[in-house]
């Protein structure tokens, strides 16, 4: 386990399959039953042409990647800022990771799907490097 004091260039990747059961459970946990996540007929009629997962379902993998790489302190004192670039579809396998920023104030982070497409991207900053509110 990292102690949070040693510079690490790349965050440890974390991977998860996002299946329908996971999407359903996340809807229950967050009370987010947007039909685009849980109603196949509704979702099929949208421009997404099918169910997509909650973006934040995958974002927990970023927190896990930071914790595994840098330790708990790096999670408890962090600002995460991300954009959802592409939908995560049922049964996609997503992988979260990150690269230390050249500025040294945190990490550029991303989540890729099994096709190598980036579905979520952003940055995580710690302590004094936090972005202004």
């Amino acid at each position: 386990m990292a102690d949070g004091t040693t510079p690490i260039d790349r965050l440890t990747p974390v991977t998860k399959r996002i299946d329908r059961a996971a999407i359903r459970l996340y809807a229950e946990l967050t009370d987010d039953f947007n039909p685009i996540h849980v109603d196949p007929d509704f979702a099929a009629a949208t421009p997404m042409k099918g169910i997509i997962a909650h973006g934040l379902l995958s974002v927990n993998l970023l927190w896990q990647s930071v914790r595994r790489s840098l330790g708990e302190a790096a999670v408890s004192d962090a600002t995460l800022d991300i954009r959802f670039l592409r939908p995560v579809r049922e049964d996609d396998v997503v992988t979260a990771g990150g690269q230390r920023r050249a500025e040294g104030d945190g990490y550029d982070v991303w989540i890729d799907n099994q096709h190598g497409e980036t579905v979520i991207a952003g940055r995580i900053l710690h302590g004094a490097g936090r972005a202004p509110s």
């Binding site: 974390v14 996971a22 459970l25 996340y26 229950e28 946990l29 967050t30 009370d31 987010d32 039953f33 947007n34 039909p35 685009i36 509704f42 949208t46 909650h54 973006g55 934040l56 974002v59 927990n60 927190w63 896990q64 914790r67 708990e72 999670v75 408890s76 004192d77 962090a78 600002t79 995460l80 800022d81 991300i82 954009r83 959802f84 952003g122 936090r130 972005a131 509110s133």
Partner: protein, 127 residues
């Protein structure tokens, strides 16, 4: 129905309580078995507090809204068993290339009133 045209910057939608109960934690770890059982809320559960507040308080919403971006600022990880309160307000809205974007700010405090985390979500509003 909260439509883009009627949402007002600065509008407050109230507060939502979340009990970090053992049962809730068990459900979370059934989805994410690798999250640490250290007696504190896993960081990803910020989303549980913020999205429950959004889902429960910003209603009714047009179907088909899409989450565009999210910012979270972790100040402290609450302890399991704590009761959290999340407030949500409309931080603004903008029309860009015929797309309707709405920004919401959330702030979650613990039982003693001290802030635990803050968030800003940006939603592509369907109507």
């Amino acid at each position: 129905m909260h439509l883009f045209d009627t949402l007002r910057e600065g509008a407050a939608f109230g507060a939502q309580e979340l009990h970090l109960s053992d049962a809730l934690m068990e459900r979370w770890t059934s989805l994410y078995p690798d999250d640490p059982p250290d007696g504190r809320m896993p960081a990803g559960m910020i989303a549980v507090a913020s999205m429950r507040a959004y889902s429960s308080l910003v209603v009714p919403r047009p179907p088909g809204n899409i989450h565009g971006s999210q910012r979270y600022e972790m100040l402290r990880r609450p302890v399991v068993g704590e009761r959290l309160t999340t407030r949500i307000a409309c931080a603004g809205k903008e029309l860009k290339r015929d797309r309707r974007w709405v920004h919401f700010d959330t702030e979650t405090v613990g039982e003693d009133g001290t802030p635990c985390f803050r968030g800003r979500m940006t939603i592509l509003w369907a109507a």
